[in-house]
């Protein structure tokens, strides 16, 4: 739409004023210094909905510069409407190049997935976070959960996991599985699947988490221990895709979306990371030649 041209003239580079960006970066630095600790920040009102990625967007905008190449995904998909919308906004108020290739990107903003190709030391992955407080489902009050973190009083959340096992025979948390950062703070990895959680452990890249509505920033810096909460005899388990492969590229080693083909009346699978899937197909085509 025509409104994108005036955006560059009427708004500051990367939308936010420089003072705001600086403040967000300061909060980010603190977050990097204390892995998993939720740093409160003065979350700005953004031109996309609260709960639609404003935290991640503020991180991205506070960090982005002309040399950057941006990738935005939602559910692993570059072409998901919300990813497209965020990407358009960042482009409209900066001039950065965008890509769908995770390996080309310097900055990746994501909702609900970590790309299949490991994040490198020169890359930053920014997550959009709905509920940053992993203790929220055992302690509704911020005032109290802050104390629990400060004193590392985590028996409440462990008890919840124990009760889950008693009731269901296993821990029933799907995505957003709580983990311990560097043996100190339990943190919410945002609603990524359990499949992605091990990618945070002792990784090369920097992972930043932004919660706009809840006004918190936290980080998993490179080479941080990330241990999913699990009992000795009930180990952490990722989603099961035994015997399934991507219908498009044949991958058996990526997180798969389950789809239902109404015409054929059967379930099939497809890579959730669309950039990865495309590359696999391209590579396959080359090998085929």
């Amino acid at each position: 739409m025509a409104m994108h041209t005036p955006l560059k003239q009427t708004y500051n580079y990367a939308f936010l004023d420089e003072g705001s960006k600086k403040e967000i970066r300061r909060a980010t630095l603190k977050a990097v210094a204390i892995p998993g600790y939720q740093v409160p920040f003065a979350s700005r009102e953004m031109p996309i909905g609260r709960g639609w990625g404003t935290g991640g967007l503020q991180l991205t905008l506070s960090l982005i510069g002309d040399g950057d190449t941006l990738k935005v995904i939602d559910q692993g998909n570059d072409d998901s409407v919300n990813a497209v919308s965020i990407k358009k906004l960042v482009q409209a108020c900066t001039n950065v190049a965008v890509t769908t290739d995770a390996e080309q990107a310097t900055l990746i903003q994501s909702r609900h997935r970590i790309p299949e190709v490991p994040i490198r030391a020169d890359q930053i992955l920014v997550f959009q976070v709905p509920i940053p407080e992993p203790l929220r489902f055992v302690e509704p009050k911020e005032k109290k959960s802050k104390h629990l973190h400060a004193e590392m009083d985590y028996s409440g959340i462990w008890l919840r996991l124990y009760e889950d096992i008693v009731k269901w025979g296993k821990i029933s948390i799907g995505a957003d599985y709580p983990a311990l950062a560097h043996k100190r703070y339990i943190f919410a990895p945002s609603p990524i699947p359990r499949y992605d959680l091990p990618k945070l452990h002792q990784a090369e890249g920097l992972f930043l988490f932004g919660a706009g509505r809840e006004k918190k920033i936290y980080a998993i810096p490179p080479y941080t221990d990330v241990e999913p909460l699990a009992f000795d005899d009930y180990p952490f388990e990722v989603e099961h895709f035994e015997g399934c492969s991507c219908r498009l590229c044949g991958s058996t080693d990526s997180f798969l979306d389950e789809l239902y083909d109404e015409a054929a009346g059967q379930t099939f699978y497809q890579c959730s990371d669309t950039g990865y899937c495309r590359k696999c197909r391209e590579r396959g085509a080359q090998h085929g030649k």
């Binding site: 400060a150 004193e151 009083d153 462990w158 008890l159 124990y162 009760e163 008693v166 009992f231 009930y234």
Partner: protein, 281 residues
């Protein structure tokens, strides 16, 4: 026996005030005699200068009328709310003979989880009523660093068995239990980490006589088997007579008499104690 003359828990000049306090009641001498209530600001001095020693393997009784400050005393020791002033030291505390009221919140949690067990007068405070009974015990074990579900469950089963709760009900929530069963779940929770000190607040109140007798038996067995030191709060002198070697009598927040239980029952000194003993007879 270990160090006979060194108390396991030593409490000195413990003060617990509810309310802000004012110029008048900050000096307890100014309170009207026989009252713990400040007429100026409405504060209550629930514990007024309480001192005592508790030795290993000993059961110390605390009696007194309703509102005399018994629950406030044990809850203060369990760090449920901060004391106004005073000290308490635990001989076996690994940080040494320090005033535990001044320790950090983390250390207080350590003491709660490793050195003390508590049974509340009101089981709704002591238990997470909508979690399973086993889970209530598990929480204590987890807090002490146990992360093996099978081990946790087998220890919880033992503990429940010990207090005669059928193991088949382990995964049920205590909200569905009778009052006596809830008290027994609380006891097994308090015992989970084999603490050297147990604080028991009216454990038998409201139980029928047969259950009461079994709970008293259980307490004596725990004392025998583990040499656990206990503070037993009751307004029932019968319970005190049965369990306690020494007894402390409280009235309006003050300790008005202390000594060997037999002596107090036979030859009470304070008029209030005399009244108490006579009403029992």
């Amino acid at each position: 026996m270990g160090n006979e003359d060194r108390p396991l828990l030593a409490v000195r000049h413990l003060m617990k005030r509810f309310g802000k306090g004012c110029a008048t009641c900050r000096n307890p001498q100014n309170l009207p005699s026989g009252s713990s209530h400040c007429p100026h600001c409405g504060s209550v001095l629930a514990c007024n200068d309480i001192s005592f020693d508790l030795y290993e393997g000993e059961i110390l009784g605390i009696v007194g009328e309703s509102g005399s400050g018994k629950s406030s005393l044990v809850q203060s020791l369990y760090f449920d709310s901060p004391v106004t002033s005073g000290s308490a030291t635990i001989a076996t505390y690994n940080k040494g003979p320090r005033n535990i009221f001044l320790e950090s919140a983390q250390q207080k949690r350590y003491i709660r989880n490793h050195l003390m067990g508590m049974v509340y007068q009101n089981p709704w405070i002591g238990l997470k009523m909508n979690f399973s009974s086993g889970g209530n015990i598990a929480e204590k074990l987890i807090a002490a660093g146990d992360f093996n579900v099978r081990a946790i469950r087998s220890r919880a089963a033992d503990l429940l068995d010990h207090v005669e709760i059928p193991i088949t009900r382990m995964d049920e929530a205590p909200a569905h239990f009778s009052g006596g069963m809830q008290q027994r779940v609380q006891i097994s929770k308090a015992l989970a980490n084999k603490p050297p000190i147990l604080l028991l607040d009216e454990v038998t109140t409201g139980l029928d006589l047969s259950v009461q007798a079994r709970v008293l038996d259980l307490i004596r067995r725990i004392q025998r088997e583990n040499r656990t030191a206990m503070l037993v709060v009751s307004h029932d002198l019968g319970v005190i007579r049965m369990l306690c070697d020494r007894t402390l009598v409280m009235k309006q927040g003050r300790c008005i008499e202390a000594g060997l239980t037999d002596q107090i029952l036979e030859d009470p000194q304070h008029t209030y104690t005399q009244l108490l003993v006579h009403s029992l007879l």
